[in-house]
């Protein structure tokens, strides 16, 4: 809202400079945007919050200033001379949709001389950024900017049938606005129609056909109440916001409906001459029911932490327009222009903002209260710290992606992605089901600017439609928390990092029912991808992660030339690992025996199975086992065979293992590997 300093002075004399005034207004709720000099005047741009339509007019702002500086407020009381016939005898008025137009009034002025406005009016309008049109239109704008009540002026001769009908638009009904553009209306909107069709889009804009021109002789002044929703629907969907729609969306002061009509009539008579018909043609009932609110004086200090005396409370509320009702207790009637005030807390806020928040103390002590990070938060931090320690940078990619990105495979099921409207950014309207494509794209973006080693990670949610009805009871959308990274290198590079993450969280592949299994996924090279499965008591194994080398097609799609691998973990299904209790396992006291065994197996035998056999056979006596070497030699091992040199570390917790003990244990291990994996020992 732009306020003219000279205009404001019509209603209140403030003993302050403009900077002092705007500062004081800002500290009471009218945020100061800027002050600009316009000719001899100053334009103060103030931000008016949506609960304060009363400040969308100079009088409302003057009232605030009057209260803040303790000065009287003087508002004119227009009493235009009604020298014409009864207005109601010549104009018929009908409201067909009272739910969107509770009250409508029209005044008629005959034989006006439409022409230029006087310079004082042109100047004031210019200060607040409004271009002068002619004396009649200028008056309607002026009075709106004065009172906050939008007005509209019609050419009476253009109202076909001398009728005014307020009704909903019919679907597809065309309307040509004052800007000479044609709009297609729908039934959510409200129109002012004459005997034939719409002459104005109610509360938004007048029509071209009935606008005031140099030929206009008789003028109809509309002053009405329109419900916020139809006005907003029209302004938004037709992209046709106006000063009028802005105010009706917020609700002008009902008491100003008639005041503004009289004020405009008086000014038109003065500036354009003419004769005013007697009375106003009205329809409907003015919706105006100010609340009566009980205020317990102590409530103020209970909320603010500042004592404001009973007397002071009254001295703040009265000039704001609140009236103390007679009788016991503190019951205040809100003024008509403050429909936002209906509850006790609203009065407390009024007292607070006028008294000033600078009085609120800032040195209270608050009691200590211990808090802890949640396991989820700990897991997020552990993963982030580990990856940062490994040289990864944290990325933040959009939760919403375009169709090509969304169409890439998700490790988390193939239910259709959720779609939003409007798109987040152009083309991106799919909630992502995996972070992997976004990180591939981010790495590709770095390659495009010549950075080839962008190892990135992100910890964020994906969005999945819940698969089953039972699950849908806990909400139709599942939001798995994913920890995803992309790195240069091969499958084992990514797997090593994934393993480290699992270990840092408190689990480890092999333990805790975490196993790797080959995975076929379009993102990854066939044979170079795995899923991580988790088995917990009483539940079938479920996927908690994937890891793989990007396929050539995936790399080409994202402009990645070198080998790239990635992994995605469902952190929300691993969080419990963090919460697990740690109990000391005393380091072994007895020496270990290291033995390498060379096992020959069929090519298809997986190390995971071999390891399982070794662990089963060795039991507690196995300290560790790892693959030291794998080699293939068709001549010496046979076709489709491979040799694994396994480094075993054997140790007992109860005594020193002898060479013989170790040899016997090796025999058992080899036998178990033979039984389960067809392994033979190579001497």
């Amino acid at each position: 809202m732009i306020i003219s300093a000279s205009w404001l002075a019509d209603y209140v004399q403030v003993p302050a400079t403009t900077p002092q005034l705007v500062e004081r207004l800002a500290m009471a709720g009218l945020n100061h945007e800027s002050t600009t000099r316009v000719g001899d005047d100053e334009a103060m741009e103030l931000e008016v919050t949506s609960n304060r339509p009363d400040c969308l007019g100079h009088i409302g702002v003057a009232r605030e200033a009057a209260v803040l500086f303790g000065r009287p407020l003087s508002i004119p009381d227009p009493r235009p001379i009604e020298g014409g016939p009864n207005a109601a005898d010549h104009v018929s008025l009908q409201i067909e949709s009272p739910e969107i137009c509770p009250f409508y009034s029209a005044r008629v002025i005959r034989s006006v001389r439409v022409g230029p406005s006087p310079s004082w009016l042109v100047d004031r309008l210019r200060t607040v950024g409004v271009v002068s049109v002619n004396n009649v239109v200028d008056v309607t704008n002026y009075v709106m900017l004065e009172s906050g009540q939008p007005l509209h002026a019609f050419d009476l001769a253009k109202l076909r049938g001398g009728r005014i009908v307020v009704r909903r638009a019919t679907p597809g009904e065309p309307f040509v606005a004052i800007n000479h553009k044609t709009y297609t209306l729908d039934e959510r909107m409200c129109v002012i129609a004459d005997g034939v069709g719409p002459v104005a889009l109610a509360g938004v804009m007048g029509g071209a056909d009935s606008e005031i021109t140099g030929e206009t002789v008789d003028v109809v002044i509309e002053s009405a109440q329109f419900a916020p929703l139809p006005v907003r629907a029209a302004a938004r969907s037709l992209v046709l916001a106006s000063g009028s729609s802005y105010r009706f969306e917020r609700g002008p002061d009902p008491a100003m409906v008639d005041w503004a009509s009289r004020r405009a009539a008086a000014m038109i008579l003065e500036l354009a001459g003419g004769v005013l018909d007697r009375g106003a043609v009205t329809a409907g009932d003015l919706a105006c029911s100010p609340a009566v609110i009980r205020l317990t004086p102590e409530r103020v200090s209970e909320v603010l932490g500042v004592d404001v005396s009973d007397e002071r409370q009254g001295n703040i509320l009265r000039p704001l327009g609140f009236t103390l009702q007679s009788g016991p207790g503190h019951f205040w009637r809100a003024p008509t222009w403050r429909r936002d005030c209906v509850r006790e807390i609203d009065l407390v806020e009024e007292i607070a903002r006028i008294e000033g928040y600078e009085h609120v103390p800032e040195n209270m002590t608050i009691a200590a209260r211990p808090v802890e990070l949640s396991p989820r938060e700990i897991a997020i931090r552990q993963v982030g710290e580990l990856l940062v320690g490994q040289g990864f940078c944290e990325a933040m990619t959009r939760s919403v992606v375009d169709i090509p990105l969304s169409d890439l495979a998700s490790p988390w099921g193939d239910t259709a992605p959720l779609v939003i409207s409007p798109p987040l950014v152009r083309g991106a309207d799919r909630l992502r089901r995996s972070l992997l494509p976004s990180l591939f794209e981010a790495r590709g973006g770095n390659v495009a600017v010549g950075v080839y080693d962008a190892n990135l990670f992100e910890i964020a949610r994906a969005y999945l439609v819940r698969a089953t009805q039972a699950a849908a009871d806990s909400g139709p959308v599942e939001e798995p928390l994913l920890a995803t990274f992309v790195t240069g290198g091969d499958f084992f590079k990514a797997k090593g990092i994934a393993d480290a993450i699992l270990a840092r969280l408190g689990g480890a592949a092999g333990d805790d029912g975490l196993t790797y299994r080959p995975l076929e996924c379009d993102l990854f090279t066939r044979g170079r991808a795995a899923e991580i499965l988790r088995e917990t008591a009483g539940k079938p194994a479920y996927r908690v992660g994937v890891v793989g080398e990007l396929s050539r097609a995936t790399r080409e799609r994202f402009g990645l030339n070198d080998a790239v691998a990635a992994a995605e973990l469902r952190l929300d299904h691993l969080v419990d690992l963090v919460a697990r209790e740690r109990r000391l396992v005393r380091p072994a006291e007895f020496p270990a025996v290291d033995r390498d065994i060379n096992l020959v197996v069929e090519e298809g035998v997986a190390w995971g199975d071999l390891e399982k056999a070794i662990r089963t056979a060795a039991g507690d006596l196995l300290d560790s086992c790892r693959v030291a070497q794998i080699w293939r030699d068709a001549d010496r091992l046979g076709v489709d065979k491979k040799s694994l040199v396994v480094a075993l570390r054997l140790r007992s917790t109860t005594g020193t293992l002898t060479g013989d003990d170790a040899a016997r244990l090796i025999d058992v291990i080899v036998a178990e590997c033979g039984r389960h994996c067809g392994a033979t020992l190579r001497g």
Binding site: R52, A352, M364, I366, V371, V425, A460, Y463
Partner: protein, 340 residues
């Protein structure tokens, strides 16, 4: 490991294995320069060292085996050289006569990763608020009408619910359309619904509003919102907590300033300014939790009061790090990310 097949390659391989084992044994044990020299001559001596001898065996291999044999020999030689160097450097410790190095040469590079500046900012807020007893909480980003609007006293007619001002999901649930949350206050509602006062929480995470992306707007951004519900809470507590936060976050004895404002879920509502770099900077919104919100979550507004405040993370991060275009936070250019 007897040589059953008996090809020259097998015996060559066996000799190399033996040689390496013996060298490891000898060099691991040697504890004087003299012993080291003796071992060096035995294994790597130019004339009659065992490596030299093994090299001669190469000539006896089948032609087809020669490349493989050569590779094996080179590996063995490298292993022995490594063992010698290791032993040498072990013995050289404490020896003043080692070759000096150019200490201005770079050390072995260790890759340094970086957390995102938005995360760093959130963590800092969480840390400070944690010390003031506020627990970090998190909640869903896809929300329903109740948590995103109704419980926050945003009525169906409120412009904030306009489809054009929100990202509604187009799944058919017309009775209760879902949307991407427009504020993290949704999490506060969820926590209040499931827990009784006293309560101190900070909710944080991504929120979504249809703004055209420019230097100061992005349709996805992060919010941190604090909430405290305890009997007897006043705006003085709100101001004091924010001042403690500001002093910690910005350093020094920082003052905060309240300007009246309007939010549906707080009343009174204020904009919060903090002194930063010698002037008042708008940091976010705050207020006393509206009694209607307390009622919506089943609290008794006569028994408890509370306050809430919200900060826009990107705006703070941008100011803290001198980022003049918030879109940079989402470009994921590592030349940007590596600076934090």
């Amino acid at each position: 490991m007897t040589n059953v097949a008996g090809t020259p390659l097998d015996s060559f391989r066996a000799e190399l294995d033996r040689l390496q084992r013996d060298a490891a044994a000898a060099l691991d044990d040697c504890n004087s320069a003299a012993a080291l020299e003796e071992a060096r001559v035995e294994f790597a001596g130019a004339r009659s060292g065992r490596l030299k001898a093994a090299q001669k065996m190469l000539g006896g291999l089948d032609a087809a085996d020669k490349p493989g044999g050569g590779r094996l020999f080179n590996e063995a030689k490298a292993a022995v050289t490594m063992l010698l160097e290791t032993a040498q450097s072990r013995l050289a410790q404490g020896d003043d006569e080692v070759e000096p190095v150019d200490v201005t040469l770079p050390g072995e590079a260790v890759p340094l990763g970086h957390l995102h500046p938005v995360t760093l900012t959130i963590r800092r807020v969480q840390e400070i608020m944690g010390r003031l007893g506020f627990e970090s909480v998190d909640g869903p980003e896809v929300e329903d009408q109740w948590h995103n609007f109704e419980a926050l006293a945003i009525s169906p007619e409120h412009p904030a619910r306009d489809p054009l001002d929100n990202f509604y999901l187009s799944v058919a649930r017309s009775a209760d359309p879902l949307l991407l949350r427009s504020q993290t206050s949704t999490v506060q509602i969820r926590v209040m619904e499931s827990r009784d006062p006293p309560l101190r929480i900070v909710s944080l995470g991504r929120v979504y509003r249809p703004d055209t992306a420019d230097a100061t707007h992005y349709p996805m951004f992060h919010q941190v919102e604090g909430l405290l519900v305890e009997p007897g809470t006043t705006m003085a507590h709100l101001k004091s907590v924010l001042r403690m936060f500001a002093s910690c976050f910005l350093g020094g004895d920082v003052h905060v300033r309240f300007r009246p404002s309007f939010f549906p879920f707080t009343e009174p509502s204020v904009e919060v300014d903090m002194e930063w770099g010698g002037r008042w900077v708008e940091m976010g919104g705050a207020g006393m939790i509206d009694p209607a919100v307390l009622e919506a979550v089943g609290y008794d507004p006569d028994a408890v009061t509370g306050f809430a405040f919200g900060l826009g993370v990107e705006r703070i991060a941008a100011r803290r790090y001198g980022v003049d275009d918030i879109r940079d936070f989402y470009r994921n250019d590592v030349r940007f990310l590596r600076q934090f």
